[in-house]
């Protein structure tokens, strides 16, 4: 009992083939869109690579890019095949290719779905990467004379200004790193020496933040130093404190930015997947209908098309048996004396059984 059986007249087959030709060309376009989306995501991630420890996030855009290219290629071929399916004679050319083509389409449709799911699932990995990247950037903020790290100050300042954020989780993260380079510290000054001695690692820690944390919405000129001591500044009330610096941490600001991008890309990829599923179903029906026409011998007659010839359970069982027997085929030539040497009759049967099995799919 077949799954999803439908009957097709000659006219219906031709219409289906033409319709699928059009859908395949639209699929080439959606494949290009997929490629473009993957490229865009890759560029966006690499733009902020200085504050992101990679940790393999790039496999998502790479997956989208390869799937997009494969989609374009397969659907281009599919367009040609479907166009030829309108004529039974031309279809004979493609008879051997049809099954592999359907299998490939199934595989890459699954890849598209995997890509969409990945877009939604990498957020925890992304957060981890941003946390570590920002922590390193803040640690190396002062190293403007070390090659390889000299751009981190400018990068972090511009990031904080653009995303209106300060520090990793908040502005207090700056209190725990030395962000003033030792070149600009007067070691003869007693207050500097006191600060250096006040902690184990001899770091110059202060309760101050860089200028890029300053909020433009504050009504008073920015207060950057001695932030923990409210009495050190005149009229520094609660409200002034709230408005003085950017309240958000850069990690959550960047997460929000990337989550928006990933969600919209994920939604688009899901829609593309649904479309591809439609194309796959149509192609499967066309393949089975054309094969049945050839089997019946009369090109003008009605034929049946289906998704699976037998029910799901039977198809699974028969495929499993194929794989088992293929394995047995390869072991049949062993010269192990412990195995019963088969008689001539069974020997003749075995190879023919191995040869028959692929035809029943």
């Amino acid at each position: 009992m077949a799954v999803g059986k439908l009957t097709f007249t000659k006219a219906e087959r031709e219409k289906l083939a033409e319709f699928l030709w059009l859908l395949n060309w639209i699929s080439v376009l959606t494949g290009a869109i997929l490629f473009g989306l993957g490229l865009f995501l890759k560029v966006e991630i690499q733009k902020r690579q200085e504050v992101m420890l990679e940790q393999g996030i790039l496999y998502v855009p790479h997956m989208l890019i390869t799937t997009g290219l494969v989609a374009c290629a397969i659907n281009f071929l599919g367009g040609k095949i479907c166009l030829d399916c309108t004529d039974t004679n031309k279809f004979l050319r493609w008879k051997m290719v049809m099954m592999p083509y359907v299998v490939c389409t199934l595989v890459f449709t699954a890849c598209v779905l995997a890509g969409a799911v990945m877009c939604y699932s990498i957020s925890s990995q992304l957060e981890e990467a941003l946390f570590l990247g920002l922590r390193n950037a803040m640690r190396y903020y002062k190293d403007t004379d070390t090659p390889g790290r000299c751009y981190l100050k400018k990068t972090l300042d511009l990031l904080q200004i653009q995303f209106q954020c300060c520090g990793n989780s908040g502005y207090r993260d700056w209190f725990q790193v030395q962000w003033v380079s030792s070149r600009y510290l007067d070691m003869n000054n007693s207050s500097v020496r006191d600060r250096l001695r006040s902690n184990v690692d001899r770091k110059y820690l202060m309760d101050g933040v860089p200028f890029s944390c300053c909020s433009t919405a504050s009504p008073r000129p920015c207060i950057q130093q001695r932030l923990s001591d409210r009495s050190a500044h005149f009229n520094f009330d609660r409200q002034s404190q709230q408005l003085n610096l950017w309240r958000r941490g850069c990690r959550s600001a960047l997460m929000e930015h990337y989550t928006q991008i990933l969600q919209s890309i994920g939604l688009t990829v899901l829609l593309i997947w649904l479309f591809e599923l439609l194309v796959l179903t149509g192609v499967r029906y066309l393949q089975t209908a054309m094969e049945n026409v050839i089997r019946l011998g009369d090109p003008d007659s009605e034929s049946e098309g289906w998704i699976l010839e037998n029910s799901l359970a039977e198809t699974a069982r028969s495929n499993f048996n194929i794989i088992k027997n293929l394995g047995k085929c390869y072991q049949g030539d062993d010269d192990d004396p412990n195995i019963n040497i088969p008689s001539a009759a069974t020997e003749r049967e075995l190879p023919s059984r191995c040869a028959h099995i692929p035809e029943t799919s």
């Binding site: 403007t144 004379d145 000299c150 100050k153 400018k154 300042d157 511009l158 200004i161 962000w179 003033v180 380079s181 070149r183 600009y184 510290l185 007067d186 000054n189 860089p210 200028f211 890029s212 300053c214 433009t216 919405a217 009504p219 008073r220 000129p221 920015c222 950057q224 500044h233 005149f234 009229n235």
Partner: protein, 358 residues
Amino acid sequence: MLLKIKFSQQRRVHLAQGLWLLSWMAVMWGVIIFCLGVYLKTELLRRAEVMDNTEIHVVPNILMMVGLASIGTNWVASRACQDSLDATRFPRWKVFLLAWFAVAAVLCCLLIAVVVLSYALQGSLEESLKVGLRNGIRFYKDTDVPGRCFQKETIDRLQMEFRCCGNSNFKDWFEVQWVNNRYLDFTSKDVKDRIRSNVDGRYLLDGVPFSCCNPASPRPCLQLQLTDNSAHYNYEYQSEELNLYSRGCRQALTDYFMELMNSTGPGVLSVVLIQLSVCLSLRYLQTAVEGAMALEDPEGDSEGYLLEKGVKETIEDLKANALKMLKFGQVDPNAAEGSSEAADAEKAEKTASPTPAS
């Protein structure tokens, strides 16, 4: 005749088709010019808070007007050349086309005027920015005064976006009080000294707001006590270049707007060229088709020209026509007076002549 060209029926048809395509291209360019005008206007409006007057707005206004007018004009031209090959419909375009040529000439002149204006108004733009920025810096501290409370945020964002500081340079901040009195402790000695140090009793510092800080500087930003070398370790006021933005905001904004307007220059000039070619082609088409309609065989060869007579004669003809139209109201009374005077003179002669005889 000026610049005669012979046109066969085939050539007339090709000319009409080519002109139709050209006029639709001109419509597209008109749309582009309109969009350029809109973009320029929005950019100017975005920075309206630091500009004192709106003289410079004449450039985008003219661009938008000309864009719309050229869309309409060239659409009319395309309709005219669609009708040109139909002998029954073309004659009613005759008077209309004269008006069309006048309008097209005006449009070309306006476009050239825009290009000239965009260079000529640079001085006015700089003046406007100078006054606007000076006010912005003066009212920077007035975040509690309605009508001026936005100046701090505007100036801060402007300095960060355009990477500039102050009006001509960062020293402009030394001359204004940019810290509000609400945040000054008037019991502190330092504050009292500073206020007493100048005539107007203002709290002046040798410091700048945080938005002047340059992120490319290798050291954390130094904002206060800038002229005092001893206040900061390893710091020299004269040679420190990267600490703050060195450009003034007036210069930065002027450069930005001049670049924007100059980039529209090539677009505008190409529109002028296209409009002129549409004009010329339409004139040739008009004269060729009219010539063909006047022949016995409308499918035969005809001549197309730009002007029927030479340039000087055409100008004199136009002058005479214009004068005639102006004097149209006065011609009849003069003629009537003249004829009655002549009749009186005749009568006087007649009465005079018999007397010697009698």
